[in-house]
Symmetry: D2
Subunit: 282 residues, 4 copies
């Protein structure tokens, strides 16, 4: 699966400001960067770095006051994914058997207050035996109970708000999915990426749940086929994997995102609650 991805963001900078960007396609065993370029106009020195065990490729730069700059990223990416039969996943992996580096994804985080959603999660989803079916039921519930309304939320909105206010965008759908999984002792993490067929084009967010030893992708928005995703980063929630973290005073004046398939035979992959197939980008 080859994709051509592109993003272009322009910022107006009022005071000296450090930006941490998260726009590069991630390099993983199943995602190869065939070519890529990052152009900052006018030129500003940038630094790429990573943390979180390599689950993101941050770019950092410092812009001076009263300037405007744009950052343009283009890449060709080859992604592979596994389709994993989930019929045998009858139980959540016991916490006692989880790898140490999975444990943090069980804990509540800024936008995913799983500790506040325990009773609700058990009442709604506790009786579903198969773990994959349980997470799929969570995404169906979100799809059916939360309205997708552009501009209805902001960078402070969390799962605790969304469970009551029932409106949000992809980021909010992902946070609520993660919070409900963690409330049921299923490790879950935030996924941000490019998405083929997303309309209007934009960065996308969804989430991964750890089932049977694999990180399985889920998307409660149903806006894009699951195999049309190109991973930028994963993290505990959007605090770890925001497209841009801004330390200073600057505002985005323009943003343009594209994701095109280079395959002539792209076959959209969607979940079906009867077939129990899970897709993993691991």
């Amino acid at each position: 699966m080859k994709f051509k991805i592109h993003s272009d963001i322009t910022y107006q900078v009022m005071s000296p400001t450090t930006f941490i960007f998260n726009v590069h396609a991630l390099r993983t065993e199943s995602q190869h960067i065939l070519d890529e370029s990052l152009i900052v106009t006018p030129p500003i020195e940038i630094e790429e770095f990573s943390y979180n065990s390599g689950t993101s490729r941050f770019v950092r730069l410092k812009a001076t006051e009263n300037t405007t700059f744009s950052m343009s990223y283009t890449a060709t990416v080859d992604t592979q994914y596994k389709v994993i039969d989930q019929r045998q996943e009858l139980e959540t992996v016991p916490v006692v058997d989880l790898d140490g580096d999975i444990i943090p994804f069980l804990f509540p985080s800024r936008y995913c207050q799983s500790d506040k959603l325990q009773k609700l999660a058990y009442k709604e989803f506790g009786k579903i035996e198969n773990v994959y079916s349980k997470v799929l039921a969570i995404t169906d519930w979100i799809y059916n109970n939360v309205e997708y309304i552009s501009g209805s939320t902001n960078s402070q909105t969390s799962a605790f708000d969304t469970i009551t206010e029932r409106a949000g965008v992809c980021r909010d759908f992902a946070h609520l999915g993660i919070a409900l999984c963690r409330a049921l002792s299923i490790p879950a993490r935030y996924f941000t990426g490019y998405a083929f067929k997303l309309n209007p084009p934009d960065f996308h967010a969804c989430f991964e749940a750890y089932i049977g030893g694999n990180w399985i992708i889920f998307d409660a928005t149903r806006l894009v086929p699951l195999n049309g995703l190109v991973k930028i980063a994963t993290g505990r929630d959007a605090a770890d994997a925001a497209v841009a973290s801004i330390f200073g005073n600057a505002s985005s004046t323009n943003m343009h995102v594209e994701c095109a398939s280079l395959d002539t035979d792209f076959t959209p992959f969607w979940y079906d609650k009867n077939s129990l197939k899970g897709l993993s980008f691991q």
Copy 2:
């Protein structure tokens, strides 16, 4: 500085339950374990593991239903600390110069919603130039404005609550300190440990701020001398470093904690806003 530390916790277990404990003294360059023992009664298989770049030593065990067990930890620990002159720390390290693994401690987390406290933090502390003095002013403000009231908060209480309700325990004081630091772009992390002279004896929580390349300890409670601390773990907040995370149905029926100095000449170290000395356990 040698300390004898001890903790003893008993749990009554109603259903099969996994426990993740965080009671071991951490091994660091400046903290050596001279001897230690962990005894679970009746014996249950335990596993020690770590994550978060070695900033904690978790112990995991699974207890069966309708049982009672106790976990007793005893150690002799030699801690060293550096006293670092902070007079030259006139500015926060620019985000652009921070090491990648420090960056996560700038982001908001479950109990430290720094994104919501930015205006308040700038208004109250923004004009203080020296970073150490700024963090010390934060701890003074918390000490003067938040009442220490045992039992006034619970495991869901966060900095967002405490800034309004103005009551809490050591954990809440630490979360608020961390949130205010991060709101000012100062990396900060949660510290949990044993504390000499804490009365009544208990586990203690405070926080570290990253100043001039060192993690400097701060404690807004003023309950214990800073050099009487023995580090158990650091993390983003209590979600990462709780004494016990319980996955199942169990409740603590007894807890006993001790921390004694083995030095005959323990000299308490407290901060003084005139001398600008910072203490680091790094």
Copy 3:
């Protein structure tokens, strides 16, 4: 329907404190006080007053510091209620036709943030045509989704908390019911009273919804028969109708409540979603 009601509360008073009590049975067209007595021991001057258009009978007193007093109320009350056929109530009374004094019960209040629950309320209950059936569905939903757990909430808990945390006591069940009604433009108010067959005996709280020109009683707890209620007060929420509002420093050291039927043939009345009968104490 005759009831013998009794309440006895003892307070320890640390500083000069004014109490506003709400323990008297209300006098209404359908509720007659056959006899009553209020005894304060030791004697303190009390004053009875009312506001909110006579929907409560407050008693006010001022206690001096370092004292203990108890207030004992006993009454015999004759209550009548109407059973009103709700089959024809196919629509909410349009706001444009509501009496002016009903309007405030459409607005959000301290513990009933109906403005935050609009989407949730419409999604869950918006399609039910008959108003009575709609409110009954709200109480069924609360009964099925919120756990009744003594001591799980406090005086600051509101409908906004309960919709997420899914635990509470009668007061929380009532607040959530009111908030969901108002979110659907159905006027609703808090009801506090004595309740026959409540076990353990205590003051009780439920709510009234304004349907077809009558205030119809609803109780999402299903703890008591609806015709076993003796009204103390109604108000926007518990802020208006708390059993005791305390201005000073005092704490309750003992509370005892009783409600006995004096009829030999008390027939419990419960709602049945097929018969569409509504009970009103108006």
Copy 4:
């Protein structure tokens, strides 16, 4: 003091919608309407009503779907105010001596969660003896700690949010002032009105505190002279006294507000913390 006031609001109505408007100048002993006119274009039947003991004059109308209408109100108003010496008001009126109809203004309400602000209020303002000086200190604190930022908040924003986020508009400043007063057992209520010299012109909100038997006006925004206010309504908070409460689906497409002085010698009146003069519109 004579004022010419005018407001003009246009709504686009998507579905059948009831509006409750609050735009008329209130008739009180100290505020006389010399002339007024209300024109709805195209004509729609309207009904004027009042509740809350006559502290507002509501207008209600019902618009049909897919229509546009505008409501234009013009009046000439004569207001008188008393300037009351506050030097002797050394203590809050004890709750035990308050009139019954003042009591509700002590209780928390939707946007004024005074129960959550008690410790903060006592810590910041508890030691100020003179009640007027105490409320003035509250307004000074709000002015100095909360930024006035147009568009920073919405209709769900409450004092609980503002105390942390430290940004808002006149409505938020008023809610926070009310909440802090009530937390200190000072009755306080929301005031909405027209305001001379408000720039840009708009409806205004501030609050009244009950001191020494009078409702004294306070305005933490410092945007307008206190004697340039024309009262529309008072209430517990904006839930009671919103300019427009909309039951249906409609949005405002245009709003225009004016307030001009008809006196040639208007002398602005502002508070001065040394002279202790309070202004009352009672």
